[in-house]
Subunit: 726 residues, 2 copies
């Protein structure tokens, strides 16, 4: 009798740590965004006494840097402990020297990497494959996951493959997009992992460990006479590895029912145009292929799962014989190279085999740049062109060197998926509430759920946008929501700052948390927002959550109220069920803090339902609204010079309005150093003066007669807006 | 009127530092073999007040690691100083994060790298391209030099190109083979460099530097909205770079007359088989091509000088239209990759252009493994095969995975070149004497000279072999001497240990420094050596240099004596001239130490000439010598087990006899961990007990009645041979 499936809503980091913890004895860590949670999970689980499949608590130890962490991994493996680390970006770069060593010494290290951009013209904590690609020459194996479920499944397979092949492996998935996406996945029970663990090879590994009773000489220095021969002595380990990885995938299949191959083909059986890619982008491509197949297009995708060792044989087997043209997508950029790494791998082996398939390569998604179905279609369309563009970019507008493909929006999200977009203020509880919603819907019902949270770099006090999807069909769509059934704005000030309704679907619901009365709303709402809503025939609801929370003694914590509003309006599950679940969750969350707190939160649920009002606007008047708005551009006139005007009107205001994606390459290629953004990543200073956000609910007031001139106000102001003068 | 050429005998490190110092204001260093001398040269020159072309002493500062050095380079460039560093191997790996930053920020850093293997199964301080290849994705430009002269010329061009293109550059040349080869080169005068220095761009660079009067915001963090666009904003810098490098080569040409291109073709105008390579191997290939052209073969070579940015256009222009097959040689290994980097670059661009040229790739010369004309011929021969081997190795015997090409010895050194091989004991002065010989011949005559010195890893007390070439024709041959006109053994114990005469030419000269009388010589010389000499009809000379040195008060310093012997017998320049030059050199070297020391050394010259004796052996009896030799293999019987027997007889004795190059791959692929060398680089312990070297001239004797049992002897013995017992 098949065991009951355990479904959970977790993020990619949690998934990878879950699998990793099972087969790890020692984890040497130095947390770095976005991989930090993996090290933190392992640390926490270990502290709470969780056991790996051998019945041991994992020893988690934090080093002084990623260089030290990788050194500790090397040492721990030499001593015979199954050892793991978690890292990304510059952290991974610092591990490169030890990766060479571990590969040379045939040590089965596993690094789980939530792949992230490498700092160059600017730092970015967001996802792409620049970091892992900087390791492809070290001799480490590399396995790529495309989704949270795969981070769990292939994360497990990677450990098995590493141990059985005696090679270090990097298991990677997209930083933030996968590492921080919450998805409903089927968990893997440690009891099942025990059934497929490679005990024989673990014993052999431990027998080879350093031991004073069986001394062996390691870490030698070799001279020109023998180094080269010794370097070739491990070739057979690499020759065997693809077969071993395939077998590891099969073991995972045996306990999960989910089947993976070194290269997985998806698409038309006689595809003529094929994309080759790795990571979360594959999910978008797959979703777009479904759409294009319906239109009768012969398109397909090869997902590269085992990137190193690269098995040409398996690749060719996965490629349909009908293919006429290929686009290889790399989520990295290597300036000065004629094409990116995966493109070269593919071109080289097709040249070896004297194939006559047209191949072009392109870059996408650097630093978590959105990669959407519209872009995928553009890539396929490019392959139809008489002379397909090579070395292209997709997802941006390159108006300087003209590498970019043009694309248009395309909606391929399965019918019936409910999409919700919640605008919150960092630390107002919106993200936490969104996660609760996912948990309730994903874990208490049969529905699928997905959550992704974009933060700006201001963190606490900055904007957060929660993107939630729910539906009866499996959800892929690893990109932000552009067609929302439900948009909630939890901070009134945002109506002036952001185009809140630009992603609202026709007949969608728009909720505003506001202190305004209906009259005030009518007079204060900016014309652009009114027009956006009216054009879409949106329904408008308002609630004064701040007042309700204040009244209940919840202070500024409006999360429970807005969560209730979500369940009331978003129509994902029956509201009565939701209220029951919410109250159950309150009991679980706050029970320890006493009945009073539980009651207060339960009261918030009831008050929210009562306080919510639909605002019936006059569609005609909103469509033609012409209220003079406060325009950020105008506030700053007159400008010191033309550069400042460009900086304010074209650049800062666009970025501040969350429309930075629309800026073309030329915006960053000015040679007026210090005046405008330069190709070296330089920016003019003091641009925050162009961005008045007005997000505070309360404002401080200086009371002259109380001031003793201690100057502590200047000291505590994080933005240096209060400056003492002599 | 053309200026008089200044010819000097210097090594590659000196050459690179000479050019680099001219255009450097700050050097942040952390010396690592084999690049240390560059940092040390710069440091020393700066300390002695040498000026760069701007009339400044270079500020040389040593950091705590290569990571810190690269950080300091980044900071110094940001502050507007022309900044340089020198590194290799793991040191370079630690600079990778900052290379990304400097590329992103368009900073004209120059790293001079004496390219070295990266530690994996074992560490190696010797040369290959593993380290620089680990940087090819960073966005740094990469320029390769093939010889000492090129390290001077292209080292200079690299600085000019970096400044003019606003990009960081790595200038690399082969560790040890070029960095430590002494060759006669034409120097570049700083006055000439002033004529071609890019003053305008230097001014622009300094104007862009950080300056409180012109503040600019650098090192920002960018979010998904703008990072990708900003990353593409520097494309045109890379597009322009090849043209700028070409122009830099042209500037160097204008003051030196030596012409370089991004890709230099050498060989038959209608070549059908072409090798593509980088670094010192190109010199060997060129020399072999000369030989093969004489035989009527249509072969050629493309030397890759600008590796990054890789200009496909320039590459295709350099490739003869007649080419039918190409072998791409990479001096690196990336386990798990289908082919090495340069091979992929070439295959990819030929696929793009729908070419129908057969391309194979191979590895050679890892960790300074010899790369000889015989191997080059094997690579060309492979291209003639019906199905040329791909992913081959050359220079070793791979009897496990069968990647290796078979090759035979081939002598392509120009006729008339005198080749000398001197065996010395580390710190006995042989290497110093050899360098003096090169200096005297190379700088005082019109002849060309080359010196390369192989050390073993025991350093002081280990063996040194000096390889010297002299001739009227230009010397390339960046490989060890296998056909010596003159072989000198400066340590008598070596006759039992090494096959001293195996590389002696027919009718060549063999000199032995020995305390033996002629009778003792006849009875002690091992049969194998006698046979080797007699078969070649070698002339044998003996001298008791130790006795002469002792008598003159020179202690163990036999270098002046053996140098005199060299000039007397090697027949490179008239002996009388040599004596004059030697005495002049003594005056220069020891003048400061007083007349007595000078006289002592001059006396050594005269005594050497007098003490040298030819030993006329009986050729017939030597050819049939059957003296029972002390056989290192036999000393250790009985063996503990079969593994120990293999270890002693097949492995340690072969390596100790300097024949490690003959060991095949299988020698290092045993899976009997701890018993025999494994594919993970492991070795059995305590193998030095199998290697009795007997190199000491004097032996300590324990005098029981004097011993007070202080145990200090155990403390000072570096080899732990004296062990106190309770």
């Amino acid at each position: 009798m098949p065991k009951k499936k355990i479904m959970k809503c977790i993020d990619g980091n949690h998934a990878a740590t879950h699998s990793s913890y099972a087969l790890t004895e020692v984890a040497a860590i130095y947390p770095i965004t976005p991989s930090s949670n993996m090290g933190e999970n392992a640390d926490e689980w270990s502290a709470y006494g969780r056991k790996n499949i051998f019945g041991e608590q994992v020893i988690v130890t934090e080093l002084q840097s990623e260089g030290g962490a990788s050194g500790a991994v090397h040492g721990s493996l030499s001593a015979g402990a199954l050892t793991t680390s978690y890292t990304a970006s510059q952290g991974l770069l610092l591990m490169i020297p030890n990766l060479y060593k571990m590969a040379g010494e045939l040590l089965p290290c596993v690094l789980h990497v939530s792949a992230r951009a490498v700092a160059a013209h600017a730092l970015s904590i967001f996802g792409d494959h620049s970091d892992v690609m900087a390791c492809r020459q070290t001799g480490a194996g590399m396995i790529a996951s495309c989704s949270v479920q795969e981070s769990l499944d292939l994360g497990l397979a990677t450990h098995i493959a590493a141990i059985r092949s005696s090679l270090p492996f990097i298991h990677f998935f997209d930083g933030f997009r996968t590492s921080h996406e919450i998805a409903k996945v089927e968990m893997i029970d440690y009891e099942d992992i025990k059934k497929i663990a490679p005990y024989d090879e673990i014993r052999e590994f431990k027998e080879k460990a350093m031991n004073p009773d069986r001394p062996v000489f390691k870490g030698t220095a070799q001279n020109p006479d023998i180094f080269f021969q010794a370097k070739e002595a491990s070739n057979s380990y690499y020759d065997r590895a693809p077969m071993i990885v395939e077998e590891a995938f099969e073991r995972v299949h045996s306990i999960t029912g989910r089947k993976y191959h070194l290269f997985d083909y998806y698409g038309h059986a006689e595809a003529e145009r094929v994309i080759i890619a790795m990571g979360s982008g594959c999910e978008t491509i797959e979703e777009t292929i479904n759409y294009l197949l319906d239109k009768g297009e012969k398109v397909g995708l090869i997902k590269v799962r085992l990137y190193r060792p690269f098995s040409a044989k398996h690749f060719m087997r996965a490629l349909p014989a009908s293919v006429k043209s290929i686009a290889v997508l790399d989520r990295t950029k290597e300036p000065g190279s004629e094409g990116e790494p995966l493109y070269k791998d593919v071109s080289t082996l097709l040249y070896e085999r004297k194939e006559n398939i047209l191949v072009v390569g392109g870059r996408y998604g650097l630093s978590s740049k959105e990669f959407t179905p519209g872009m995928v279609k553009a890539v396929f369309d490019n392959l139809k062109a008489r002379e397909p563009k090579n070395f292209f970019t997709v997802g941006i507008e390159d108006d300087v060197t003209f590498t970019s493909l043009k694309y248009e929006a395309l909606d391929t999200v399965p019918q019936g998926t409910v999409q919700c977009k919640l605008y919150g203020l960092g630390s107002d509880g919106t993200v936490g509430a969104s996660k609760n919603a996912i948990k309730i819907i994903g874990e208490e019902t049969e529905m699928f759920a997905q959550g992704y949270f974009s933060y700006d770099s201001k963190k606490s006090g900055g904007i957060t946008v929660s993107h939630l999807r729910f539906g009866k069909e499996k959800i892929q769509s690893p990109y932000l929501i552009t067609d929302a059934d439900y948009v909630a704005c939890h901070n009134q000030a945002y109506v002036f700052q952001y185009d809140l309704a630009k992603n609202l679907k026709k007949d969608g619901t728009f909720v505003l948390n506001t202190v305004w009365s209906e009259q005030e709303l009518e007079s204060h709402l900016p014309a652009s927002l009114k027009k956006d809503i009216a054009r879409r025939n949106g329904k408008v609801y308002i609630i004064d959550a701040v007042k309700i929370a204040d009244g209940l003694g919840l202070g500024q914590r409006i999360n429970m109220i807005m969560l209730t509003v979500f369940f009331k309006l978003a129509n994902v599950i029956p509201f009565e069920d939701a209220v029951k679940d919410l109250k159950k969750a309150n009991e679980e969350s706050y029970g320890r803090k006493g009945k009073e707190v539980v009651d207060m939160n339960n009261a918030a649920i009831d008050a929210a339902a009562a306080g919510l009002k639909e605002y019936k606007y006059d569609c005609e008047s909103w469509l033609h609204a012409e209220i003079k708005e406060i325009d950020i551009k105008k506030v700053h006139e007159p400008y010191t010079d033309e550069a400042e005007k460009i900086m304010v009107e074209d650049i800062v205001s666009t970025i501040a309005r969350l429309n930075g994606d629309d800026l073309p390459v030329s915006t960053f290629a000015y040679e007026d150093r210090g005046m405008l953004p330069g190709p070296d990543g330089s920016f003019p200073t003091a641009t925050c003066r162009f961005e008045k956000r007005g997000v505070a609910i309360k404002l401080p007031k200086w009371i002259a007669e109380n001031c003793i001139q201690c100057n502590k106000c200047a000291y505590v102001c994080p933005h240096a807006s209060i400056r003492p003068m002599l």
